[in-house]
Amino acid sequence: MSRSGRLALPDDILLSVDKAARYIGNEVNSVIKDRDSVDIRIAMCFPDVYEIGMSHIGMQILYSMWNERPDTWCERVFCPWPDLFSVMKERGIRLFALESQEEIISFDFVGITLMYEMCYTNVLEMLDLSGIPLHSKDRGDDCPIVMGGGACTYNPEPIAPFFDFFYIGEGEVMYDRILDLYKSHKRSGNYSRKAFLHEVAKLPGVYVPSLYEVTYNSDHTIKAFSPKYPDIPSVIKRQVVKDLDSAYYPTKPVVPNVRAVQDRAVIEVQRGCIRGCRFCQAGDTYRPTRERSVEKCLSIAKDVLSSTGYDELSLSSLSTSDYRELSRLMDELIDICKEENVNISLPSLRIDAFSLDVMGKVQDVKKSSLTFAPEAGSQRLRNVINKGLSVEDIMDGALKAFLLGWNKVKLYFMLGLPTETKEDREEIAHLANEVAALYYDAIPKEKRKGRVSINVSTSFFVPKPFTPFQWYRMFPPGEYLGRAHDVNSTIKSELNHKSINYSWHDAETTVLEGVFALGDRRVAPAIEYAYKKGQIFDAWTDFFDFSVWEEAFEKTGIDIDFYIGRIKPFREILPWDFIDCGVSRKFLEREWERAMEGKITKNCREGCSLCGCIDMKTGVCMEERKREGVS
């Protein structure tokens, strides 16, 4: 079906903004339906720019899945870039969906993907441009239902007042029932959003913030978090796909017209991670690890390649090296891709003999770099964070790679981890130096292709909900910069410092991310204040202005140290405690204690550490293996 050809934005605007093709829709595989033949219209919003949003596989899954329903038309909406934002504000043009080019305020649902905390002001930008009241309580029956999903919903509280409901968990599971319920409410003839929200709140995984009451102690900590009505659940359970092979996967993803960050076919081979790194939220919130079968992955790969015409394919998962049949999958994929002239781009695999062999087959060694993520400089600290990567692993992998012709290495670390000392930070520099020295020792002068290049980068650690470090604290920006300085000055004193390049993440952005990750409902007014002062696209350093945020916290009476500046006791009620994400509170507490003792915990395949996810009866929990308790 073809659309009328009318665009929401007039020609003069499209010719004056950067990359106008972001706003025209009309991509291959985008779905056009007859608006009169559908009952439900969904605007799927990604609160970042087109090129970023179009690279997000979760959005492609939900888009295709919803459009499979004959009664539903789902369209995409991305955040207008600041140049267009100001023109739309000025001229009163409302936010529109790409497919129909129609204003989304007339839609039934506005679904917002929340992938990272720094997009929160963009969420407000999108609601505001749509003409939708920012607060759920101010919306009438004719206003779309605003729903949120994605990684940030494991603590949705800082943005709770802006949403009608959140969906906690994997979208494939419960959305059909949500849409069916909505349809029946609409059909009843006397639809009211209040009644719908009350009913939808009873579905598993659905959290309607307005139906819960929070009370506070005099020290500002949460006293109680409870439903306002007896028929509303007090705990929200994360929804989990039991079987990836039968779960919906899009074989006709929309092909972006403007080059996206991920301009390639993406096959999700596995969900979850067996490793149990204690800083990693995804490692807990996607448990248990579930694999998609080799056969299913191959059939998806073939279908996606032929429907899109991509000349590159990439595998997606949290830890592809742990995919048990990776060797067979790669062999078969290499065969398919050779025939079709398709390149395979590899996600960060653990560097070992196997992955180097595969990388040598599919990548141009000269161009590619090796990536190691030791996360911490010393073995002691790596034990604290349960990162099972030893110096021997790194040296061994690097040596093999150097002998095969690689001479670029990336090393990723975090600063601000629990128990971290100056020595741990200096170890980062020593490790980088040793990797460089290894190159010069192992490769004779005549065989070297120039100097080895070691890129060290550090980010600052943000404690995240549902990790064993959720009780830990953060530090002021100045302290973080001091820690980066420790690394920098040690690198400068190393023998091979000329081969090492060091970069670090912005400290102020990190602090803000922490407030959003760990905050409660009382943070929302600060986000609204900052938005109204013009803050959008906070994830982009060009637009980020910390002084506006400092003002926002001051004016709205928020002490950020309360949220990020103190180690919280186990007894304190955390803002996200009403969510049951599968891993038990006991497990997290136990893991925190083991971290403090520097004890490592086995990965899920080596032995079950009784996190609680076995109750879901799927994935790695059902694999044949020794079950043992915790020593």
Partner: protein, 253 residues
């Protein structure tokens, strides 16, 4: 090695697609259509395609071309079949108009282009009718002995006599015959032309050596004629008075 030349249109919403994005669009379309395109050698092989004359964002065209080398190892594929398969995988706003086989000694499309023809017309802005009438402007241009353009280039200013770069310049009116002959001629949205509206038809030097963009030509001519400042539709400049539609590229044989 056999080569084909593909003519396509770019209009509607797709006129906002930049040149590099258009290249990527066709690279993928050729794969979707399963055309046996020849690939370059090396570690990351790419399709052997050659595009002529990038069109500025915002301009429409029914005279876009690219050459494609075919993989001779594959069984022969006819031009009709290529056209059919590519057409099936296009989107609104890009149409495959013709596919033709090139003889061995034919120059590639970029080297072969010598001229380009355009239809240029006023956007229906308020008081657009008070603009210089195409007929008058054509007469004015024909009586000029030269039209000097100081072109800013990376190397400095270059003086060009535009009089020498125009091989045809005439005025006409949109009518039913025009719209029928140019089905890809559509203007999205608010300044849709109507029957009876005047237009210019112009053929300008084009190609890699001496390329005159119609936007530049009209800016110089209108400024010379009216002594007013006109801005012409180009990327990053939304206040243009004129819209430009490329009708055809002319090749040296």
């Amino acid at each position: 090695m056999s080569r084909v030349r593909i003519r396509f249109s770019k209009h509607g919403a797709m006129k906002y697609l930049g040149h590099l994005d258009l290249l990527r669009f066709f690279q993928k379309a050729i794969k979707r259509a399963d055309i046996p395109v020849a690939m370059s050698h090396g570690f990351s092989p790419h399709q052997l395609l050659s595009f002529a004359m990038p069109l500025s964002v915002g301009l429409t065209s029914e005279g876009e071309y690219f050459d494609m080398e075919l993989d001779t190892k594959e069984s022969g594929i006819s031009c009709d079949e290529i056209k059919r398969r590519l057409s099936e995988t296009m989107v609104d706003g890009i149409e495959i108009m013709a596919v033709s086989l090139l003889s061995k000694d034919e120059k590639n499309v970029m080297a072969a282009v010598s001229k380009a023809s355009y239809v240029v017309y006023y956007k229906r802005h308020p008081n657009w009718e008070s603009k210089a009438s195409p007929k008058e402007l054509v007469t004015y241009f024909k009586e000029l002995s030269s039209l000097r353009w100081e072109k800013e280039t990376k190397k400095g200013t270059k003086v060009i006599d535009l009089k020498k770069e125009v091989s045809f310049f005439g005025a006409g009116c949109f009518d039913d015959c025009f719209f029928k002959a140019h089905p890809c001629f559509d203007n999205t949205g608010e300044f849709l032309t109507k029957e009876g509206d005047p237009f210019f038809l112009i053929t300008l030097s084009a190609g890699s050596n001496n390329n005159i963009r119609p936007e530049a030509f009209f800016e110089v001519l209108l400024n010379d004629y009216t002594k007013e400042h006109y801005t012409i539709v180009t990327e990053g400049n939304g206040t243009g008075d004129l819209a430009v539609h490329r009708v055809e590229l002319i090749f040296d044989r």
